[in-house]
Amino acid sequence: METRTILHSDLNNFYASVECMLEPALRDKAVAVCGKAEERHGIVLAKNDAAKRCGVTTGETIWEAKQKCPGLVIVEPHYREYIKYSQYVRRIYNDYSDQIEAYGMDENWIDVTASKRLFGDGSKIANEIRERVKFELGLTVSIGVSYNKIFAKLGSDMKKPDAVTCITQENYREKVWGLPVCDMLGVGRAASLELNRYGIRTIGELAHCNDALLACKFGVNGARMKRFANGEDNSKVMPRDYHVPIKSIGNGITFLSDLHSNDEVWAMILALSDKVTSRLREAHKKARGVSLTVKCCDLAYKEWQGTLEYPTQSMGDVAHRCFALFMQNYPWVKPVRALTVRAIRLVDDTIGEQLSIFRDIEYIERNEKIDQTVDEIRRRFGWNALQSAATLKLDKLPQNEDEIDLTMPTGMLLFA
């Protein structure tokens, strides 16, 4: 079988680079893209190289970042632009392959095995893509070229910005095995700490690790991590028109100020369930379970899951189950800062379901009709044309006039 040629292309400091590209006056300054402080999202989402050199890190608060870098320019995120440029970059990849798999908004795997006769070897294609992205879009990419997705991803992290790194079957031992084990995709923070406890600190050490130890500590994941470390990843790059099946639909909000009562929590759960079930109906899915995540004012959070009596896409069913979870589990020691409602264990809404003599079918059908009517009114007059009365008097919901629906795959698909 022919050795595959896979590229992993990573847009450098994506959000910050788009901001600097659109506003040339920012280019020589330290720039950080941060969420809105007044909506309590005031953390660094991305930064450019100048800010990085000052020690600014993603996830820290604006005031921490400004302490490290007093001249730091803070800009608000413009997600529509990021989506637009992400699509423009994918359009360039499209010229080289039809197997393009997204990994977040700014990273993609591209399988160019079948394109080599047309465009040259992997390194040549990678350099051509790198040059085109810079010339046509004013952005830079780092590209890893390898024979599997794991090493291609490692390659794109090695040299930044605006660079190409090749990891071959001949040189991977020198290039990869000396790297810390946490650098490899598939080894999370917890697994990395556990491996370190057993003296496994590098990818090379993982590659030679005892099978029994890995199986005992990590189960099937242990064997998979070892295969990855040895370059034995056969997962394919999915076709560009492949849509990842929806596994859950969720919506979360950080409130403008903390919630202190059950009434407030109920109203917020109602508002979130409204969004979630509307999206369920749009996707023609029903949920068999819900999950509720509660974040306290000290940023500690807890998640609970519950089963629904029957598959549903009704706001009332989801909201009542989530509120019941909240009442059963939340001790009210601290005020609530953020809530997330998720519909889980989804099934198609066309699928037949088991009837029960205890279920009030008329009630369910009436609710379905109400939901359909609400959807139709909102389609014609906008989302805010109808809202539940409980949420109207609340002033703790952020105003998302420019809200966008964004779903980006953030996991690697493991189809061989």
Partner: protein
């Protein structure tokens, strides 16, 4: 220092999808006839930011860039 100036453009749209700008109307209303289109490629504007289809055009014997950014046109104006 250059600035991004969005301008009105009269263009010909051909059946095969090709678009050829003919006249640029500056913000003060002055009309500039495009004598020739020298090049048409996708490119970023390094001077004023943004990107699109970049037309290198010849106007009164001078070369200039005209960008088509989605449905709008801009030039790199001098400040």
């Amino acid at each position: 220092m250059a600035r991004k100036v969005y301008v009105r453009v009269n263009a010909d749209f051909y059946p095969d999808g090709e678009v050829r700008p003919r006249v640029i109307t500056w913000i003060d209303g002055h009309r500039y006839e495009i004598a020739r289109i020298l090049q048409c490629i996708r490119a970023a504007s390094t001077k004023v930011g943004g990107c699109g289809i970049r037309y290198t055009v010849s106007i009164d014997g001078k070369q200039s860039y005209l960008f088509r950014e989605d449905d709008r046109w801009f030039v790199e104006g001098k400040t």
